[in-house]
Symmetry: C2
Subunit: 244 residues, 2 copies
Amino acid sequence: MEPLRLVQPEPGQSRYAALAAALRARIVAGEWPPGSAIPSEQTLAGEHGVALGTMRRALELLTEQGFIERSHGRGTFVKPALNGASMARFFRFGDGSGQVPASRILSRDALPAPAEVARSLGCGPGETALRLRRLRLLAQRPCLLEDIWLPLPLFAPLAEGDPAGWGDLLYPLFAQRCGVHVHRAVDSIGFGSLAAEQAHALELPPGHPCARVQRQAFDLAGRCIESRTTLGDANAFHYTVSIT
Amino acid sequence: MEPLRLVQPEPGQSRYAALAAALRARIVAGEWPPGSAIPSEQTLAGEHGVALGTMRRALELLTEQGFIERSHGRGTFVKPALNGASMARFFRFGDGSGQVPASRILSRDALPAPAEVARSLGCGPGETALRLRRLRLLAQRPCLLEDIWLPLPLFAPLAEGDPAGWGDLLYPLFAQRCGVHVHRAVDSIGFGSLAAEQAHALELPPGHPCARVQRQAFDLAGRCIESRTTLGDANAFHYTVSIT
DNA sequence: AAGTGGTCTAGACCACTCT
DNA sequence: GAGTGGTCTAGACCACTTG
């Protein structure tokens, strides 16, 4: 018989919000890994000594916040990590078949993080981080050029071994090799033109207009675990926003 | 004593979804104009012969869908129309003080709608529509150039009178003069370069890179009531997206 | 003080999934 | 058939806004 886990709502906070926070903490702590099932609402309600409807409200909150997914008749599951295939959503290349671009690692170095990268990753300036340069191709033609910074004690497993065997998606690799699950990402879109070196890699003329997508990726605990800059032909860029 | 308004859920549809649809129809029909209060959940629940909690679920649905806003202790209100000040959200000009750019109407004509515009507005190709060309300025400096198409029987009141008195925002004008309330908008973003005439209006060199935002605006009933193309300096463009 | 939406309870029953 | 989440009920009480 499990003892009651009573939660004490902060003053002004509702009980279901407090319950959601408690469950979120258990998820973040890794008690239930991404993709696995958590106990049924019946069980959880009994465990915390609250009515079923109250626990449902808490689980609805966690669903809205993107921590869990519910499936009728099956159960409630910790939301699996993002797979990172979403970068192509900003560009419309060639056939538009929506397939994942192939990946080619151009370089891999452990370097002191420049100020801007350090700020983005939330680490001290000058701390060493892993920098990947990566080219992405569709039908053997270069389409995206990426500059990826990863904090270093955490991503040490990626500093070794042959990157040729990594496959086309990085985020599943982060999970397998480093135990890092990407839960949320923020993309910031801007515009610029290609430096000579960048233009050469993308097989475009120097000075060609490009779209620049700066991404920060976060894990379940809200720590920034990736700072990435992606460049692509501005003429292939497109994006749609709905306003309400 | 108001008679019961019983709703019949479609097979496979929940009762609260059917209630939400019924209320949405009354909102779209104009029974409660934008900004006005609708009856309390108590009243509505009684009126439809359902439990309070069920009516709450229906109202939650309408809230998510953007048709109503609820305010603790005050009541439930039909969501007021968009004010259209949101175009500046795509650009970062000068001081970044976030103020609304001034508006200058460059031209106003009733013309047959080109095929693409007609498709966007959902009217027959070649039907006449109202075209506005409009320049927007911050601190007396041009920043955005707009090409706006409006379907014509509906917007006839804007074909007359001096546009100089219209003010800086069009959407409030749509509501006052034409009874059109903008409920939702979809913006599609791309990059291009300025034609000579466009460059001249924006005081930029011809061929200068520009961001192009194509907007479709919709009223409560879901009809497209505006097709707009906005051009601005690509170097001032920025936008942030959160992915979960 | 009256009226509104927000929280919480304790139950019943239904729909879906898996074995 | 057992277990899950989804719907619906009927009520009590609380928190907020307004006259």
